[in-house]
Subunit: 308 residues, 4 copies
């Protein structure tokens, strides 16, 4: 455990894969896509990993935004499957797109929400047989605290009291520890959003405790903090040179702290093509979510609702 900032359960577990009491890890490789399921079973394990008890599904492939048509189809299915398994079988869902639409690396939540099939307001107008097939979906991308003056959790609470959804899905851009995770990994969890997480550093969490309903969180790493990169380069060097026996000693910690602080926490590392990547990943996730949410509609009917 290196203590670097990451929003991925998979990175918190690191090399301890499965050796931790109270943590189940199950990995499948499907061609170029790997699917890892982590279950944190008890509060002891939750404490060690600084992550809530619950299920974390991680889907990885070399490049989410530029994979070939077969891998893309399979990824859409795997996203749909994982979300569907966490959703209540029936009942309304509110989708919340987190992050700031005017900050490229933080706009993923907003872009996904723009692509969703929203149905809550349609149901009165539809024929009875279709209403039975159509789940009520509402969606909002409210903007971040600095733009609204209102905490996202607070804003959602007010909304939930009126809309009364049976579950919430929150979409967010994440920060990772390894730059190789950017745009290559989807994390889907039933534990909601933790305080301090995401590119935008949410002050409050969004979960059953704060919102009163189940919150499924779907996220993709879009940045690594610059301080993480500097710290990481230095740690590797110290290990290579046996410079300090133990990189977790106070002296080493002090040095690493110094290195991190010399890079403003606000500096983030992203691929140059992040603008295009965000749109492409938003297409992929929204396709998966639309299928998970409207599992009783066939593909053509779903298409007609969305584009016809």
């Amino acid at each position: 455990m290196r203590g670097f900032r990451t929003d991925l359960a998979m990175e918190s577990i690191g090399d301890n894969n499965g050796h931790l009491d109270g943590v189940l890890v199950d990995r499948q490789q499907m061609g170029e896509i790997s699917r890892t399921r982590i279950v944190i079973e008890d509060h002891h394990a939750a404490q060690v990993l600084s992550r809530p008890v619950g299920e974390y599904i991680t889907l990885s492939c070399e490049n989410l935004s530029r994979c070939d048509t077969n891998n893309r189809k399979r990824l859409v299915q795997l996203v749909a499957q994982a979300v569907r398994a966490m959703l209540p079988k029936d009942g309304q869902v509110l989708v919340v797109g987190l992050g700031n639409r005017n900050v490229t690396a933080d706009a993923l939540g907003t872009r996904v929400v723009e692509r969703l099939l929203v149905t809550r307001h349609l149901r009165e107008a539809l024929a009875d047989e279709l209403v039975g097939k159509l789940r009520g979906v509402s969606a909002i991308a409210p903007g971040v605290l600095g733009v609204t003056g209102i905490e996202t959790a607070e804003l959602c609470r007010g909304l939930i009291e009126h809309v009364k959804p049976d579950a919430v899905i929150a979409i967010d851009a994440l920060a990772a520890y390894e730059s190789a995770r950017i745009c290559t990994t989807v994390q889907i969890t039933d534990t909601g959003i933790e305080p301090g997480s995401g590119v935008g550093n949410h002050r409050l969490g969004l979960n059953r405790d704060t919102l009163g309903v189940k919150v499924i969180a779907v996220g993709v790493p879009m940045v690594v903090y610059a301080s993480t990169i500097a710290r990481d380069a230095v740690t590797n060097l110290m290990e290579d040179y046996g410079l300090m026996q133990d990189t977790t000693s106070p002296a080493a910690e002090l040095l690493l702290k110094k290195v991190s602080e010399s890079y403003l926490g606000e500096m983030v590392v992203t691929p140059r093509e992040i603008d295009e990547m965000v749109l492409s990943v938003a297409d992929l996730l929204s396709e998966g979510l639309n299928r998970a949410l409207q599992s009783k509609l066939d593909a053509e009917t779903l298409h007609t609702f969305l584009h016809g």
Copy 2:
């Protein structure tokens, strides 16, 4: 009264200027800017004009988006003055940007909200003397029913129960009857937003009845409906030629109805430069609103909060 669709009180009044019982009309010309104040005093007048009892300030000049620096300064002041006079002296304000950010002519509300000084979340962190000067402002541009699945009025109600503002300001793009009104007129009213108004045709109104607090509405016409133009051309012709004695006769009405319906209600008329105009008008309105909302801050402090 021609019965055409318009969101401007000034156009409803038409040529009856001041001759209507229960309606006060007061017009001032200041250089190239004219300011008209209409007060609908009682329910009879409200019924005749199909508009709620209340005050309507209309500011007009040849082109809001391309006026010279002096006219622009004066317009900002006049907007600030009119809004300030309608606001409670102290207390929090929630600004709601109505409309669809992805439809150019309907994006005015969203663009204004993006440019506001939002302070509600800052107040804990500020020195005491500044807190006394700073009004708590929160802001949201929630998106339209088709995008969220939630009525804007419903969404605002949930929000207001948590944020508890003392007043709401709603910003919206309007439809006018005359194309010459597009981007040349600002309407500021203390009656809120009426059902069926705006480019996006709000299903429910936003006013004291639906939201439980005072609602000040600020709007600028951005479109004329195509059917209005066709109807208008034909009416003029019929009058010129004395074609039908009375253009409000059933026969004439039938003809006009036919003309209107041959143009899809969805077709709107806008200037080709609407994209640029919306941004420019959003700058102007947000400057006026920021001044009205933070009337105890001097210009440089306001600038520092916004840009520094």
Copy 3:
């Protein structure tokens, strides 16, 4: 021939369908899509129709931006087929996206260019067998005269002298006479772009005379001028009432002129959803063009070049 402004050959021909000497008209209906091929064969016919000698393919369906998957596939094929038939069998192609990217209704050309597979610079790096299959394509969306200070035709001439393409494809947003044409019609012609055409009113034409190579123009109507709507409403009325025996008489012309001029030429009529429509039509056209340009690549290889 009513003399209204239109960029569609199909509308110029009007009800004279095939009765004009020197004009061939051939129409096919394929399910919900109709395909009309007009050939203006000689200079006399060209003069009567105020359009150059050449071939005009028009594809129509109810809504290009919201058709079902089958119609969309067929439209892509028909666009590809028509363009391919006009292109030289081999040789480089330069695609020019006309119009102003900051004016929604005029941005079609720019949006198509953004979605093209551009290959001219790749060919050195590719394996020999692939080079044989890949046509050299370059693309530019230079912006309009008011933004660059340079006539598009002038700018293209300079470029063509260096790039030396064997043909040019110019993409543009058009103005129609009937509002029902907006986003329902694609026109593909080997005559290039005429002076005064397009939403942006190009001052010079782009054709073999001005550029020295064959110019294929692909366009979709995005606006109707407001004056056209007013004029049209009045003409219909005059005809219905036998108001003037001959709507082309000087008196009638004067009246119509008066009606037209009371609506600023700058006002345009578009659907409210024009923003979304432009993106959707750009997807459709670019897909057709990519297939026409790279007819030796199979679909998966084309996809990999574009997205993988």
Copy 4:
């Protein structure tokens, strides 16, 4: 000289400030703004610094995008002054916005071009006295090689042969060595754009050799490469610990190379707020350029041309 990638002459010089033969360095502090003028006088110095002979003006302040109104005014003046001094006194100018408009950190050139007063096409229509005051300015943001298939230098050459400007101004987003330079420094040079420079890594240079006219380059650092940050952290550590006597020894070089390569060259470091910063810096630069280019117009006339 550390050999890291930077586009700033100031960083190449590093701590050798003025001690290098053939290099003049002159620094002025004006309140919170510092202005450094570097002149590389001969080919020997040019070789040592890997930069062409010429003049480099660097303006720095804590944050270009969020400075107070006084500092902003002074910066606009200093940009205008530096560019004006390098421009020919009269004659046409072509401004080229380099970079990719769809990559946030690379879009600076495009955003500046959008804000320029373009006049080349107006001059026929203007009164004689105004023509004498108005310099002919044209502008283009052609897009990068991957988008057009045409090298920017090649594209400009074709254009220049037709437009025949007396000078070119090229605007570009730069890469720096220190992250503290991002959005805090403007570099203005009469040496043009070097091959391999800019966020987008131009393959060819834009200078008098390739274009045949004087090229003034204006740039602001928008990224640091992730490899630079890793390398830098490690170098500091090695120096602190005396790990290798000489950080330029082959062993040290090998180590640093390893560190750099473990971070993809494509990963870039930027502030999270880069989207907003680019627009704000584009405002500042365009204001400076408009003044430099139209030095005979007073502020109000310039404003009227731009906004009225």
